[in-house]
């Protein structure tokens, strides 16, 4: 099978949320010695982009978006060991993501993490109820490009600002792009915090991170 044809099939399997088929095609790509970077970008990547488009159009909803992302993650686990020599060019960037201290709402953050990971980012999901200091420390350890901080409550969203403040205190603000998420977050709040951006949905979050990464 030509790589173009395989990519089309992979993309379709992702859009159809057919996990078995997607994983089988990933294995076939590995066994056939195909250019796996091409497969990731034009097969799996294309599929996940299409799912994002379908979500935009109101055809696909969050559970399906999540499943698409999870299938993508599992496929990447198969493909990554074979991509070692290309990992530099493959990896789009490192994202450390967490829900802020005092807040146990993790779903929004998890969806964003899944979608970023599905789009080729190395995502370190620290979970929920994470202190601002710890988020910064982990970002430094992971050599992250982007820090994502989620808050669902107006009472905990102040912690988002704290993350930016700590980065400033330690004089490392410019090393990271900081993005915020969660229901109470608005553009105004992002400005107040001195963060770099926010998005309203997981699909938009991926677009935002791509934009921020390229504006580096």
């Amino acid at each position: 099978m030509s790589i173009e044809k395989l990519n089309v099939e992979i993309s379709e399997a992702i859009v159809n949320l057919d996990k078995e088929k997607a994983l089988e095609l990933a294995k076939r790509a590995i066994a056939s010695g195909l250019n796996l970077l091409d497969v990731v970008e034009h097969g799996f990547g294309e599929g996940i982009r299409k799912i994002g488009d379908l979500w935009d159009e109101g055809e696909v909803f969050l559970p399906e978006l999540m499943l698409g992302g999870n299938i993508m993650q599992e496929a990447m686990e198969l493909l990554l060991p074979h991509l070692k020599e290309h990992s530099e060019s493959f990896n789009r960037g490192v994202v450390v993501i967490a829900t802020i201290e005092g807040d146990i709402h993790s779903i929004g953050k998890t969806i964003v993490g899944t979608m970023l990971s599905a789009n080729g980012y190395d995502v370190h999901d620290l979970g929920a109820d994470v202190p601002a200091e710890k988020i910064v420390d982990e970002a430094i350890n992971a050599n992250a490009n982007v820090i994502g901080v989620s808050a669902l409550l107006t009472t905990t969203m102040t912690g988002q600002k704290k993350v930016v403040d700590i980065l400033k205190e330690r004089n490392i603000r410019s090393k990271f792009k900081v993005i915020l998420g969660g229901a109470p977050v608005s553009r105004k709040w992002v400005e107040e915090c001195g963060a770099d951006g926010y998005a309203d949905s997981a699909v938009d979050a991926v677009k935002l991170v791509k934009e921020l990464s390229s504006s580096k």
Binding site: S106, T114, D200
Partner: protein, 475 residues
């Protein structure tokens, strides 16, 4: 499996029985005024006494005629495929019919409609998931006056596949309309077996069947085309002020219709319906959004169900002149109550200003309301035990249930998927999308739908045939 179907009741058995008996008594003692000679002959043939045009129908004849009315009606679409069944507590919505004005959402003006408005309207109705039937919703002025009723059926059939609720404005039109319907079927028998249209038959309150409407009732009965009674007692003006009095009058008017239709053709399909209203005691208007109007409707429908007949009501309308908050709450309340009452055919979506003005914006909003009501009526479903235990066991693994197989498998069944008219965005997303009101979002959506390819495109030969019939009769 639905545990309980949410329902509403406004009458108990004892009162339904009393209403029915009194309605029969009204027909026997006060009589019904019958303008139509064919109907008079049918009644005279049964030995019904009369004084002038008033006929005193005895209860046993009414009872006999009730026996032959079918309990359910299945409607078929233009292509002859089964579309919906009016029976039990099935609920279906169709746009309120015969508006004389049109709220042009582009200019914001309410004006006389044109044939093009109705073409566009019909195309949009074709795409609305929760409005299952179409209606000859607009009366437009750019056709000859004598074609104003039947021409609408031509446009409706040419532009939308859904069954049509329609009616005549003059006696001669019935045969033309029947011809248009026949062009969508193989034969007269085929049309009788697979009804495509319902004809509204509107008695005049109180207790009067006009020449025109009775003729339509008889003609439809003979062709086994369903007729829908649109009895419209006006409480406090042409009907008793008491809601129960108006319900009783409605019952009597409809029983007279049942008798005439069944005498014309036993077994003729009928729908027990109406458009009652109260009289607004300040402005003298007939508010369709009044809660008491809705209550009379509920009582009327319960009587229809008591007689085991398919039911109809004019609900989901608003008296507001524009799709505003009043339009939303009156439309929403009416559509919801109609759903809870199990009205088989709910006419009203899109309609404003006492049944006079159709609005595409309101129609699209009402489509969402109808979708929500239908979800409610499915009730809480029992999908087997344990209800939550097993799902919650899995929570600790992922700390979310969004990607749980049960969520993926069932979210489309458990949840009503809101359309673009309903705003559930974050404030910023809403701002980015233009900070639009529901009305504005409906306007944007209407634009998309009008140019979307039809769900069921019409056959080229049928287009030609409908056109040929129309041009012949326009000459």
């Amino acid at each position: 499996m639905t545990i309980l179907r949410p329902k509403i009741k406004v009458l108990d058995e004892e009162h339904k029985n009393s209403i029915l008996n009194e309605a029969k008594q009204i027909l026997e003692t006060l009589g019904i005024f019958v303008e139509n000679e064919q109907a008079r002959e049918l009644l005279r043939n049964q030995g019904v006494n009369n004084e002038g045009l008033s006929f005193f129908i005895p209860p046993d004849l009414v009872e006999k005629c009730l026996q032959s009315v079918p309990n359910e009606i299945t409607l078929y679409d233009r292509e002859g495929e089964e579309h919906m069944t009016l029976k039990d507590d099935n609920v279906h919505y169709d746009p309120g019919s015969a508006a004389i004005l049109y709220l042009d959402e582009n200019s914001g003006e309410t004006r006389e409609a044109t044939a093009n408005d109705f073409i566009r309207f019909s195309k949009i109705v074709g795409h609305l998931k929760y409005i299952e039937a179409q209606s000859t919703a607009l009366v437009y002025q750019d056709v000859p006056k004598e074609a104003q009723d039947w021409h609408r059926l031509y446009i409706a059939l040419s532009n939308c596949h859904k069954p049509v609720i329609t009616g005549t404005f003059k006696k001669e039109s019935f045969s033309i309309m029947r011809e248009l319907l026949l062009s969508c079927r193989l034969s007269e028998d085929d049309l009788a077996r697979k009804p495509l249209a319902i004809f509204d038959a509107c008695p005049s309150p109180p207790l009067k069947w006009s020449d025109l409407t009775t003729q339509s009732l008889i003609d439809a009965a003979k062709s086994m085309i369903p007729s829908e009674f649109v009895s419209m007692p006006l409480a406090g003006a042409s009907a008793p002020i008491t809601l129960i009095g108006s319900i009783t009058q409605h019952c009597a008017e409809c029983l007279a219709g049942v008798t005439i239709a069944q005498l014309a053709n036993p077994g003729a399909p009928l729908i027990w319906g109406g458009s009652p209203a109260i009289l607004d005691m300040k402005y003298g208007t007939t508010p369709m959004g009044a809660i008491e109007t809705m209550m009379i409707n509920l009582g009327d429908v319960e009587m229809g169900k008591y007689l085991k007949l398919p039911t109809h009501a004019y609900m989901g309308l608003s008296d507001s002149k524009v799709p505003d908050a009043q339009s939303g709450f009156e439309g929403g309340m009416g559509a919801l109550l109609a759903g809870l009452a199990g009205v088989n055919m709910v006419s009203g979506p899109g309609m404003l200003d006492f049944e006079s003005t159709q609005s595409v914006e309101k129609l699209l909003i009402d489509n969402e309301i109808a979708g929500m009501v239908k979800r409610l009526l499915r009730g809480i479903e029992d999908r087997g035990t344990p209800f939550a235990l097993d799902i919650l066991k899995d929570y600790s693994e992922t700390e979310e249930l969004l990607s749980h197989p049960s969520t993926l498998n069932l979210f489309r069944k458990e949840l009503f998927i809101a359309g673009p008219i309903i705003d559930r965005m974050s404030r910023d997303a809403w701002n980015n999308a233009g900070a639009n009101s529901a009305r504005k979002r409906a306007k944007i959506e209407a634009k998309k739908l009008e140019s979307k390819p039809a769900i069921k495109p019409i056959d080229d030969n049928l287009v030609k045939e409908l056109k040929l019939i129309t041009t012949t009769h326009l000459k």
